[in-house]
């Protein structure tokens, strides 16, 4: 690397020139690698990038400026000028972010500059799970991986397991090629971001492949069943933008929001009406509302629905679903009437908290759009906008990795943390054959790895990615623009090297090849391919035209699996605004960002309703022990004024056994109590509910809140 830059400099007479320093941000986006020689102090450059924090794949821009860092070379300390990323913002040209960004998106910078990043490859020296490693050279590490892989490929390629994120990207396409060349099964996704139930429901209700897109910005009434779309579901930036427009973007027209969820999430905060549905009974609620629509609001669209759909809703016993869901018949009637009377209603079906029957619940919720005639209509629900790149085919699915984990001869863990998100994975990882992690950190799962081959940070890499939802066909594609800070290697390059070493060579998919393929497929003779690729990279990706509306394909609801009724206290885990599924916990900005509901910093609380708290004799900050059949945890209480009586919630995020100085050993992981259950149809990780007992605990702990005041008694003082 150094030599190349060195030679380049000597070879060019104009070294040091920087293009487009002034003017508007959008005009000065520069897509090429800034070598440290080409950046002047005090001059900002903006480069297109992609947020890798969740599957929404927001297009971003990164502000790059000269900075100095200290490094050690042969025992001597030096200052070194580097091109540093100073700030992330949304890319205005991107249809998903529209130039905006969420809290986690901003904090991606603290993944790049996290002090606990691995400086190079590591080899385990302690027991599995202990987290003790020593440095190893890349050459030696790759040799070891290649040897293990060659053995597995020769004996039983079925025992090669690759766990990764549920993204449709150049990365997942490269992984798919890698596994295919080995004859190994496709990669599996781990974690809630897979939206497996949403995808399955979309297939059943609409006959679509992928996550539907809700046009809430043009709706007059939004009913959300289980989708906390303002707090992190699928694409919080896109849906927050759309929500803002729905409320105040149209003259004379203000859309209304009814939100059904078993937790007082951000979406519930903002709703005109919150339907506090009993956890796991979202299906009952959707069926009840559908029943009222069919039996009491026979509109033309209802009449057009298929017999199967009508039959599904007609047979519902309203009293029974009302009792199960905790939502009164009256509230269901009012909601159905509001939907029937609205000029442009839409029902958003999501499982922010995945249940055992989420695919069924979401299918029923999606089918409400069929009853309302809102499929493919403006302000209704639209099919996913296929990017045309084919990357979607490589988006890993959730189903069925657990059983294979313990028996696997070699396990690759790439961008996911099963030991955190699926508690039993830790035990299975102890029994698995060779475990190879690509994590840039020693996280909960990497602690079990035999070898850690740290990937570059997402901000240091070029890649192409299809957003989970996009208003138009789109693929984000960027090239790397800063040099990696450390002796890390791109996982795509590692896979290519390993495949080569064992005689099963593959070619990596990179952003330019994704765009090149797209150009070829579009058959546009107007532009030369290289020019097309260059131009799209400059803009951070390609965005197509919005397609005309498209109605539903085949609707095949199938039979529904009703959730069993449960008594006693119910416990559920949820992905939080600040930490998502847990990956945000090592970023100090997010640790110190107050939790929206509880105002807690540097810790997550067990959210208990006031009645239950009174019975237990606990107040804010009291330590409690939460116990289920699967496990237990101890954490401070937050007496949540809006918690459903008898429902205990806790955010994912804390309770990492290993994840650097800001996250390790802090607080508790709610999955320990939720245990390991899976969504019946898709295998997605379930977030509860489980029945629990609560008891006061003697253990030490505290709740740090920015504001200890829940009520506006002394106005606006914290």
């Amino acid at each position: 690397m150094d030599r190349r830059n060195f030679v380049k400099l000597v070879g060019t007479a104009s070294g040091g020139a920087v293009t487009g320093a002034c003017g508007k941000k959008s005009e000065q986006i520069i897509p090429l690698l800034v070598s440290e020689e080409e950046i002047e102090p005090g001059v900002e450059q903006w480069h297109p990038s992609i947020c890798g924090d969740c599957g929404a794949g927001c297009g971003t821009t990164a502000r790059v400026m000269a900075a100095e860092r200290e490094i050690e070379v042969d025992g001597e300390r030096f200052r070194q000028q580097v091109a540093a990323i100073k700030k992330l913002e949304g890319n205005p040209a991107d249809p998903v972010s529209g130039g905006r960004l969420c809290a986690r998106g901003h904090a991606a910078l603290q993944s790049l500059y996290n002090p606990d990043r691995l400086r190079g490859p590591m080899k385990r020296v302690g027991e599995r799970g202990e987290g003790r490693f020593e440095p190893i050279s890349w050459e030696r590490a790759l040799e070891e991986v290649s040897e293990s892989l060659a053995r597995s490929a020769a004996s039983d390629p079925g025992k090669i397991l690759y766990l990764t994120r549920p993204q449709a990207s150049s990365r997942s396409a490269t992984v798919a090629r890698f596994l295919e060349s080995l004859g190994a099964p496709p990669a599996r996704s781990v974690g809630t971001g897979d939206f497996a139930a949403e995808i399955e429901a979309s297939r059943r209700a609409f006959g679509w492949a992928g996550i539907p897109v809700y046009e809430i910005q043009d709706s007059t009434l939004v009913l959300s069943i289980g989708a906390d779309f303002l707090g992190g579901w699928v694409s919080p930036v896109l849906y927050s933008r759309r929500y803002g427009h729905m409320r105040q973007g149209r003259s004379e027209l203000r859309g209304r929001l009814i939100h059904a969820e078993s937790r007082f999430s951000l979406t519930a905060w903002n709703a005109n009406r919150w339907l506090p549905v009993w956890p796991g009974q979202e299906l009952a609620l959707a069926l009840g509302i559908g029943h009222v629509l069919v039996s009491e609001h026979a509109s033309p669209s209802v009449a057009e629905a298929s017999e199967e759909v009508l039959a599904t809703f007609e047979s519902v016993d309203l009293l029974q679903v009302s009792e199960a869901s905790g939502i009164s018949i009256e509230a269901m009637r009012e909601t159905a009437a509001a939907l029937a009377q609205a000029t442009a209603p839409v029902v958003v079906a999501g499982a922010s908290m995945v249940r055992e029957n989420s695919a069924d619940a979401l299918t029923a919720a999606c089918a409400l759009n069929v009853l309302l005639g809102r499929v493919g209509e403006p302000g209704g629900v639209m099919p996913p906008a296929a990017s045309g790149t084919g990357l979607e085919d490589a988006r890993p699915a959730a189903q069925g990795w657990e059983a294979r984990l313990a028996e696997a001869e070699i396990v690759f863990v790439d961008g996911v943390n099963p030991a955190y998100n699926a508690p039993s994975a830790g035990t299975a990882l102890t029994e698995a054959g060779t475990v190879v992690s690509f994590s840039p950190f020693v996280d909960d799962t990497a602690a079990y790895a035999d070898l850690i081959l740290p990937d570059h940070d997402a901000l240091e890499k070029g890649r192409a990615l299809v957003p989970d939802v996009s208003p138009v066909p789109a693929v984000s594609a960027v090239e790397s623009f800063v040099s990696p800070l450390y002796d890390t290697r791109s996982t795509e390059d590692v896979l290519v090297a390993v495949a080569e070493a064992i005689g099963k060579p593959i070619e990596a998919m990179d952003p330019a090849s994704v765009l090149g393929g797209l150009h070829q497929q579009m058959g546009s003779a107007a532009t030369e391919q290289a020019a097309f690729v260059r131009e799209q990279l400059r803009q951070g990706g390609w965005r197509g035209e919005r397609r005309g509306s498209q109605g539903a394909g085949q609707t095949a609801l199938g039979s529904f699996r009703e959730a069993g009724k449960r008594g006693g206290l119910q416990f559920q885990a949820y992905a939080s605004v600040q930490f998502g599924e847990g990956a945000g916990a090592n970023r100090p900005w997010l640790q110190e960002m107050p939790d929206p509901g509880s105002s807690a910093m540097w810790g997550t609380a067990v959210e208990v309703d006031p009645g239950t708290a009174a019975v237990l004799g606990v107040t804010n900050g009291s330590m409690v022990r939460v116990e289920s059949a699967s496990g237990s945890l101890e954490a401070p209480v937050y007496v949540h004024p809006a918690a459903i009586p008898g429902v205990v919630s806790m955010a994912l995020g804390q309770g990492h056994a290993n994840y650097g100085r800001y996250a390790s050993g802090r607080g508790a992981n709610p999955m320990a109590v939720v245990g390991d259950s899976r969504e019946a149809a898709t295998g997605a990780i379930v977030h509860g509910p489980v029945e629990v007992t609560l008891a006061m605990s003697e253990s030490r702990g505290r709740l740090i809140q920015l504001s200890r005041q829940d009520r506006d008694e002394a106005p606006h003082r914290v």
Partner: protein
């Protein structure tokens, strides 16, 4: 190591008459080579920061020009070791001053380099000819009807 050009850590503090690692002569470059300040301090007119040139810039010429001068020989040694020259900064504000200075607007207002930096063209190794005090800044701002709001510089 990945990157080539390194600066020893020691060379940080500003000094009144800085002991520089090389006997660089500003005069020779201005008078004999007929160069402009901005040829090396590229940001002085159009950017926030004037900038101290990298050794790469020096070597663009000194690979070929005056290669036998003793100071150029010493310069070449840094180059061969892939080290930056650890220049000692002559001007600059302490972090505690919380001052934000931008060169460009001053150049645009027609303020000559010498107003704040003295006649560097007549110097060999640069010395601190002008003391950058708040009084100096404020009186010049007032003379030129520039802002004397604290926030013009302190943020």
């Amino acid at each position: 190591m990945r990157r080539a050009l390194l600066l020893p850590l020691l060379a940080l503090p500003a000094q009144l008459a800085a002991e520089q690692p090389l006997g660089f002569s500003h005069r020779a470059h201005i008078e004999r080579a007929n160069m402009q300040c901005v040829d090396c301090h590229t940001g002085a007119v159009s950017r926030d920061v004037a900038g101290i040139p990298s050794i790469r810039k020096c070597m663009l010429c000194h690979q070929f020009i005056a290669t036998d001068l003793p100071e150029v020989v010493r310069l070449t040694k840094y180059w061969e070791k892939k080290h930056e020259v650890p220049w000692v900064r002559v001007y600059g504000f302490k972090r505690q001053a919380a001052v934000q200075f931008r060169h460009a607007p001053h150049a645009r207002a027609g303020i000559q380099c010498s107003k704040c930096h003295g006649d560097v063209g007549a110097m060999t190794v640069a010395v601190k000819a002008v003391n950058h005090t708040m009084g100096g800044c404020v009186s010049c701002h007032r003379e030129n009807q520039a802002s004397d709001d604290c926030l013009a510089c302190h943020f």
